[in-house]
Amino acid sequence: MNLLAFFSRYLILLGLGAATVCAAASWPGRTDQHPLTADQAFQMMPLQRDAHGVKLEWVIAPGYFLYRDRIKVKAVAADRVLALKLPPAQPYDEPGAGQVRVYRNDLTARLPLSVTVTPRRLKVRFQGCSDSGICYPPQTRIMQMPKK
């Protein structure tokens, strides 16, 4: 084998391997050099109403998550906690706290409502963190109930 061709091939492959790893290591989601605000990380969509009740929807940025047990909904006027139907959450091993349940990417929860006691406004509370190790204070949103 031609010696020059051998070394050329070797160096190209070496470079490609190194470049692949370096690119993977510097992927934005990994180091999170520009953390998002809570509003950007956990975007809450307007409430949607259907025959079964009200749909609450979050768009969660990649690399961020919401804690399942820190999502609470109250009726503003009555200040009473409402039972929210949450989908199954992913397990997350939180160092020092053990396994907790979290949501990533998108979350759709349902609030079954009876016709007689439908609140006009909901107070929605939620809390989340980023995989890069930044947590956001509990967020509260007052959401207007959509008309039927």
Partner: protein, 191 residues
């Protein structure tokens, strides 16, 4: 397997190993483990700690940051609901013990109720002053100090005369924090 394929595979493996080494060396030398640091040269927010802010400690006594004037001060915002904050605290306790006698002081404003901050503080054996405030009080304060995302943990290193030296969002790594303290303690004593 032909010789050329074997050589190619070996080269790829070597490339990956070299890449991992390069990233490891880069991270060790230049970057913080999980946080975002901003040194005084990049400051966009006020250069000094606000003097008018009063926060209460776990016993209900009010303090201003000027109380710790004359010491190299690390203001570490944390909360009982913040996992990374609680993981960082043992390192802070260690640094306070190690460098306290040389003029280093940590103060931990908690974005919490006093009861929650007290419970967590006792559980983690925090032995430096813990102050408390609601998110409504603390978030604007953190924003003023340059923490635009409003996340935790958030630390601000302040010189003995109240000048902000460094802002850091996220957990400190052991080596990173110790290097920062040492550099600024020696700068303070050599002035």
């Amino acid at each position: 397997m032909s010789k050329i394929v074997r050589v190619a595979l070996a080269a790829l493996l070597a490339g990956i190993i070299l890449g991992v080494l390069a990233v490891g060396i880069y991270e060790h030398l230049f970057s913080s483990p999980s946080g975002v640091s901003q040194t005084a040269a990049e400051n966009v927010a006020p250069e000094t700690l606000p003097t008018n802010v009063k926060l209460t400690d776990l016993r209900g006594h009010s303090y201003r940051f000027s109380h710790w004037h004359g010491r190299l001060l690390l203001v570490n915002f944390w909360a009982s609901w913040c996992g990374p904050c609680k993981r960082e605290i043992p390192l802070l306790i260690k640094m306070q013990k190690k460098y306290g006698a040389q003029g280093f002081q940590i103060v931990g404003p908690a974005v919490d109720t006093r009861a929650a901050a007290r419970r967590t503080s006792h559980r983690l054996h925090i032995d430096y002053p813990v102050l408390t405030g609601t998110p409504a009080e603390m978030i604007p304060l953190m924003n003023k100090l340059g923490n635009e995302p409003g996340g935790l943990p958030f630390s601000v290193l302040v010189s003995p005369n109240g000048q902000i030296l460094e802002r850091h969002l996220g957990m400190f790594g052991h080596r990173e924090l110790e290097k920062l303290i040492k550099a600024n303690l020696s700068a303070t004593t050599s002035q």
